[in-house]
């Protein structure tokens, strides 16, 4: 059984993946972080299909960190699908992206994102942001117990 702090990172940039994982590691938050590299893969993972057909579909991440600019399927589309499926509709989704376009922010919240975090350029700031995120969503926040 996976631990209670199970994070799904949807990110296509390998640098960002590595830096994010490093940041989580530094704060001992990365007990289990699954990484998927595009939107389709993210949905396959969540609904245990395609290359993830063997995965236990009932085991859902505690938190999804979702980039917007993704290959194959845009982050917003992924978010829409997550919110459309009863099994994932309550999952906390935090948009973690480089963009600070008002359009992206509004679209994200409109489609049910729980937070919107812009990746700072300065690494210290980025690490701090990841720390805050982990602390808040994994430890402080109470997600609904019951899952479909």
């Amino acid at each position: 059984m996976p631990s209670s702090t199970h994070i799904l990172l949807v990110e296509d940039n390998p640098d960002d993946i590595e830096l994010t994982l490093r940041a989580f590691r530094q704060h001992q938050l990365g007990n289990e972080i699954s990484v998927v590299r595009d939107g389709v893969e993210a949905l396959d993972y969540l609904y245990a299909r395609g290359q993830y057909a063997g995965r236990n579909g009932n085991c859902l991440p505690t938190l999804i960190l979702l980039d917007l600019k993704l290959p194959k399927l845009h982050g917003i589309e992924v978010l829409k699908e997550i919110r459309a499926q009863p099994i994932t509709e309550c999952l906390p989704v935090v948009i973690l992206t480089t963009s600070d376009e008002e359009k992206d922010i509004v679209e994200s919240y409109r489609n049910g994102a729980n937070s919107y975090v812009r990746k700072p350029v300065r690494y210290e700031d980025f690490v701090a942001a990841v720390r805050e995120l982990g602390l808040y969503w994994l430890l402080l926040n109470t997600p609904p117990k019951k899952r479909a």
């Binding site: 640098d15 480089t98 963009s99 376009e101 300065r122």
Partner: protein, 623 residues
């Protein structure tokens, strides 16, 4: 009646002469003229005198003569018997006088009544004729004769044929004969309109009423005759006027309809000509045989069955000095009662007017069409330009998005991995290596800021401005408080004028103040007693808001480069910045329809002014 007036004087002188003659005989004859009997004939004559007064005068004269004769006549003896004769004569004289009195009393009454009737007859405007059964005129009133150009004397005793043409007289004779035989009148007694003939041969229409009467066993017919010539003339003139009015109305209606057509929005020239041509025939004197045709720019528009005939009128269509066609109206056949010209003068004028107005309408319509085309072209061009602009905007959006997202990612990588290197492999690096890594990270962070500022600049061009009242004083105080919180240890003299209110986009003005105050904050860093002032002055009649500081200032020589992006007047080491802030300020102020400018002096400070909404798109120096 002047003749009847002269007669009594003649008669009077005869009587007086007779009486005087008798007196002379009386005085000279020895027998004494049988005692005055000779005066009796004179007395009897006097009865024919017109009035009793005259008879009475003669009676007195004869009495005096008789008495005079008695006194002076040379008679011999028997004076008593002689006197007796004279007295009998006198008695007879006065008896005659008395008879005369009775006679004249009746006569005067009769003649007054006759005079009255005669006056009435002469006064009425109708003529009165009396004819006998042979159609001989027995009486004609003055007015009656005058109607036909005669005097009564020229007519009385003449047959009625004098006053009518042969045919009419023939009919009259037949009617008279039949009436005399059957007693049934040919003409109604109550009146009928008949036509007589004037002395000069012209017709004399008149209203005739006839009455018959019998006098001395003879049958007479009295006719009253009312002259209808004036009446007929009036009627004819009225008819003429009514007809003319009808024609003019048709012409006016034609022109009115034409002007309606001409002002119909969006009408094409072909429609205008085709509809105008249909208007024309109805406005001509003989619409049933009138056909119309318009030639315009080698096209012909005509009514049904149009064909050129010898009875045509044509006017040229002159549009802006060029003959572009013609308008024609033709009659199928020569119209009835036509003179040398088949068309009225008014119709020539009408066609000319139609041609002029049609040409004007065409001129106007062509101008309108040209304008419409120009407008359409312009609209098309605007649409094209708008589409291009939209495309450009879209591209700019995509670019900005890409800058925001893609350019920052590698920066983050560089910074992140430098940091990782420093943290995880510090042992393998000497201090110089570490320093270089620090420099790498400093560069990435500056570039990150630069990208962010560039994004703001690009957004300021695209953001939608919503003008609303903005309290500039409050905004400035808030922003200064924020700046103060970043450096709580700095002491700064702040002076913000109260109630600086203007109309503009709140968030845009926040960005403007943020930049101006941020600069002021930054450039007063090395001043011992830093001071920032926010206020308003009226310059050139415009309320000009300003942010002033006593910082390092700058040389006005370089003021032109102030508002250009990436231009910096101070070294980055001393005063960090990207050189985009003032470019952003200028763009926002320009989009507010205002202008921004600066006044400064090295080491004395700088003052940045801006106005809002007064100068539409004035370019500032250096922009």
């Amino acid at each position: 009646m002047p003749k009847t007036r002269i007669r009594p004087y003649k008669l009077l002188s005869i009587i007086v002469a007779l009486a005087t003659g008798v007196l002379a005989i009386d005085l000279t004859q020895p027998l004494g003229v049988a005692g005055g009997e000779l005066y009796l004939p004179a007395m009897l004559l006097a009865l024919w005198l017109p009035s009793f007064a005259w008879i009475f005068t003669i009676a007195v004269l004869c009495t005096l003569y008789t008495l005079f004769g008695h006194a002076f006549a040379p008679f011999a003896g028997m004076p008593l018997a002689y006197l007796d004769h004279r007295l009998i004569s006198l008695a007879i004289i006065w008896a005659i006088t008395l008879a005369g009195w009775f006679l004249k009393r009746g006569e005067t009454a009769l003649s007054e009544s006759e005079m009255r009737y005669r006056r009435v007859v002469d006064m009425v405007s109708d003529g009165i004729f009396v004819i006998d059964r042979h159609s001989i005129m027995r009486y004609v009133s003055d007015r009656g004769a005058d109607i036909f150009g005669f005097t009564p004397r020229e007519l009385i005793g003449h047959p009625l044929a004098r006053l009518m043409d042969a045919e009419t007289f023939q009919r009259h004779k037949q009617g008279m004969t039949r009436y005399l035989e059957t007693g049934k009148p040919q003409l109604p007694w109550r009146g009928v309109e008949v036509e007589g003939r004037h002395r000069d041969g012209s017709r004399v229409p008149h209203w005739l009423q006839i009455e018959k009467y019998t006098e001395h066993g003879q049958q007479y017919f009295i006719g009253t005759l009312h002259d209808l010539r004036d009446h007929h003339r009036l009627l004819a003139s009225l008819n003429q006027q009514e007809w003319a009015l009808g024609e003019r109305t048709k012409e006016l209606d034609c022109l009115y309809q034409l002007s309606l057509l001409a002002s119909r929005p969006g009408i094409s020239l072909a429609e205008l000509c085709a509809l105008t041509v249909e208007l024309l025939p109805a406005s001509w004197q003989h619409p049933a045989i009138a056909r119309a045709c318009i030639y315009f720019d080698d096209e012909s528009y005509h009514t049904e069955e149009y064909a050129e005939t010898p009875w045509c009128q044509t006017e040229e269509l002159v549009v802006k000095g060029h003959v572009r066609g013609s308008v024609s109206v033709c009659y199928e056949e020569n119209p009835p009662l036509a003179g040398k010209d088949s068309f009225l003068e008014e119709e020539h004028a009408l066609l000319e007017e139609v041609a002029t107005r049609l040409a004007l309408a065409i001129t106007r319509r062509e101008a309108e069409i040209e304008l419409e085309q120009l407008n359409a072209e312009l609209e098309q061009r605007v649409e094209k330009r708008t589409a291009e602009l939209q495309l450009l905007n879209h591209e700019l959006d995509a670019f900005a998005y890409s800058v925001s997202h893609d350019l920052r990612a590698p920066l983050r990588s560089i910074d992140g991995f430098s940091q990782a290197l420093m943290e995880d492999h510090a042992d393998g690096l000497d201090p110089e290596g570490l320093h270089y890594l620090e420099r790498v990270r400093g560069g990435t962070q500056r570039m990150g800021k630069l990208i962010d500022d560039l994004l703001v600049l690009s957004r300021t061009t695209r953001m939608t401005l919503e003008p609303q009242p903005v309290d500039l004083s409050r905004t400035a105080l808030q922003l200064l408080a924020e700046l103060q919180s970043t450096e709580p240890k700095r002491t700064m003299e702040l002076q913000v004028a109260p109630k600086l209110e203007l109309r503009g986009d709140a968030s845009a003005l926040v960005i403007v103040l943020q930049n101006l105050l941020g600069n002021a904050w930054k450039y007063t860093r090395h001043v011992p007693t830093p001071r920032i002032e926010v206020g308003m002055r009226t310059i050139d009649g415009q309320p000009s808001y300003f942010v002033a500081d006593n910082g390092v200032g700058f040389d006005m020589l370089h003021a032109g480069r102030l508002f250009a992006a990436f231009e910096r007047l101070h070294p980055a080491e001393e005063f960090p910045g990207t050189g985009i802030g003032l470019a952003i300020v200028q763009r926002l102020i320009q989009r507010h329809g205002g202008r921004v400018w600066a006044e400064a002096e090295v080491d004395k400070g700088a003052c940045f002014y801006f106005t809002v909404g007064e100068y539409p798109t004035t370019k500032t120096p250096g922009s």
